[in-house]
Amino acid sequence: MMKQLPAGVGVGFKPEHFDAIIADPAAPIAFLEIHAENYMGAGGRPHAQLAQLRERFALSVHGVGLSIGGEAPLDNAHLARLKTLIQRYRPESFSEHLAWSSHGEAFFNDLLPLPYTPATLARIADHIAEVQDTLGCRMLLENPSTYVRFEESTIGEVDFLAALVERTGCGLLLDINNVFVSAVNHGIDARAYLADFPLEAVGEIHLGGHDEDMDDNGAPLLIDAHGSPVADAVWTLFAEVIARTGSLPSLIEWDNDVPAWPVLRAEAARAAAVLARPSRHAAA
C-alpha cells in the first residue's frame, strides 16, 4: 500500500534541472513527479538520476500512456511495465488520466476525449479496478482538458468522476488549469464545476500554463500547452480550492519550452505561499 504525497509543492521533473535541483536544497519542493513512460528503459541516466532524487523527495508517478478511457482492454504489457516501475521506486502516488491515447494498433501520444455515458462509465470503472488490483494501490484519476464534447454524452464530467470514485475507490487528481481550459472552451462556469467537484477524493492538484487560440466561431479556445506560467485566473481558483480543503499536494507542470530552474522554482514558491495561507478548513 502506498503512503501519501506530502501536502506541499511539487514540480514535474525535467532532466535538464537535475544539477540545479541537487544544488538547491532550500527549494520549496516536497515532491517530484515523473511521467512513467520516460522511465521504462532498463537503466542508464534516467534511472541513475531518479534513484538519487528519490532519496531526497517524495515521488509521484504520473502515467500518460495507459489509455484508461480507451475502448480496448488495458494493455497488459504496459500495465506490467508500470508495476515494475512502481515496485522499483515505491512512489507515494500513482496517477493517470480520464482520457484515451491508443486505439487499435496505434498510440497517439495525446490525451484524447471520450463520451460520458453509462457504458463508458462501466468500462472505465473496470479499467481502474484492474489497474488498482494489478498495481496493488489506489490510483488518482485526473480530470481532462478538452476541446470538443460528444453529442452522445449523457453524464456531466463531475458526476462521471464522482461515480468512478464511488465505484472503484480511486482518488482524483484535480488539474485546475484543465478545469479552467475546459470551462472556457465549453462555456461553463469553472467555479460551478469546482463547487460540485468531490474535493474529499482529491489526492493531488495540478497547475500548469495554457495557450490561447480561437474556435470555429471566433470564440476563445484555450489549449492545455504546459509551456508557460500558470495563468492568474488559475491561481485564483487554486487559492479558492485550498481555502476549502486546506493544504494539498500541489504540482507545477511545465513540460514544453521548459524554463531555467529559477523560473520553475519561483512558480513553486508561489504555490507554496498559497498553501501556507490560513484556510477556512484549518480554522474550522
Binding site: L66, E71, H78, H103, F107, F108, P115, V148
Partner: protein, 252 residues
C-alpha cells in the same frame, strides 16, 4: 463505427477531414487534437534523430517524419522505441535518395538511444582476461554489454557523423570509403567512435555468439589486414564484455 473509432481514424487521415460529428461545427477544435498528435510524434523523432535533423534541415526532416509517422505510427506508449523502422523507411524514401548514407546515420542514432537506456550491467575489467590462455582462447564466448552496438556502412559514416556533430570541420569528403562505428556507454554518457572494418566484423561475430577463435579466423579471411591484437585491445580496453565463458559454463 464508435465515436472513438471515427475520432482515431480522423486524427492521422491525410485528407484532414474531421469525424462527421464535428464536421462544420467544431473543425478547428478537432484540429487541435490532430495537430497535437502529429507535432508530438514528430518532436519525438526530432529528439531521437538530431543528426538527421542537422543533415536534412528541420523542414525536410519534419516533412519526412510526417510521412513516416503515417506509415509507421507508434504501437507502444513507450516512445523510446518509436522510429525503429526509420532507417528502412529512409532507404526507400525517394526525396532522400541522393543521400544514401542517411539510413546508416539513423542506425547510429537508434543505437545511441538504446545504449542510453540499456541495462546497467557490470563490465569485465582487464584483469578478467588474465585467465585467457592460447589453449582456451579458441573456444571462448564473449557476452557484449547491452549498450554496445556496431554499425558499419558502405559510406564514410564516421566522418559524416563527426562533421554533422561539429567534432570535425565540415569539408568535402574526397576519399569515399566504407567506415564503421562503435556505440558504447561506459558510464552514463553514450559515446561513438570509429572502428576499423575488421574490428567491426569481429565484434559483430562475437555479439552473434561466435567463439573467439572462430570469429578471428573468419574475419581474417574476409579482411586481409585484420589486426586481431588491436581488435582485442578495443574489446578489453573499452570494457565491451560482461562475461567470458565457454559452452556450458564459466571459465574453470
Amino acid at each position: 463505427m464508435t465515436a472513438l473509432s471515427a475520432f482515431a481514424a480522423a486524427l492521422t487521415a491525410p485528407d484532414r477531414r474531421p469525424p462527421p460529428e464535428f464536421a462544420g461545427r467544431a473543425e478547428r477544435r478537432f484540429a487541435v487534437y490532430r495537430n497535437n498528435v502529429m507535432v508530438g510524434l514528430i518532436r519525438a523523432l526530432e529528439t531521437r534523430f538530431p543528426v538527421l535533423v542537422s543533415l536534412l534541415g528541420e523542414e525536410f526532416f519534419r516533412a519526412m517524419a510526417r510521412e513516416f509517422t503515417r506509415a509507421h505510427p507508434p504501437s507502444s506508449p513507450v516512445l523510446m522505441s518509436f522510429g525503429d523502422e526509420l532507417p528502412d523507411f529512409i532507404g526507400g524514401f525517394e526525396p532522400a535518395e541522393e543521400m544514401p548514407y542517411l539510413a546508416d546515420v539513423a542506425r547510429i542514432e537508434i543505437a545511441r538511444t538504446r545504449a542510453y537506456h540499456a541495462a546497467d550491467v557490470p563490465r569485465l575489467g582487464t584483469d578478467a582476461y588474465s585467465e585467457l590462455t592460447p589453449s582456451n582462447f579458441e573456444a571462448m564466448l564473449i557476452d557484449l554489454h547491452p549498450a554496445v552496438a556496431v554499425i558499419h556502412s558502405h559510406h564514410p559514416i564516421w566522418t559524416i557523423l563527426a562533421m554533422a556533430s561539429g567534432w570535425q570541420p565540415a569539408a568535402a569528403i574526397e576519399d569515399w570509403q566504407p567506415q564503421a562505428v562503435l556505440v558504447n556507454r561506459p558510464d552514463l554518457d553514450v559515446l561513438v567512435r570509429p572502428l576499423t572494418t575488421g574490428a567491426a566484423l569481429f565484434l559483430e561475430a562475437l555479439g552473434a555468439g561466435r567463439p573467439l577463435g572462430i570469429a578471428a579466423t573468419e574475419v581474417a579471411q574476409d579482411v586481409p589486414d585484420f589486426d586481431l591484437p588491436a581488435a582485442l585491445a578495443t574489446l578489453i580496453g573499452d570494457g565491451l564484455a560482461t562475461r567470458i565463458h565457454v559452452f556450458g559454463g564459466d571459465l574453470p
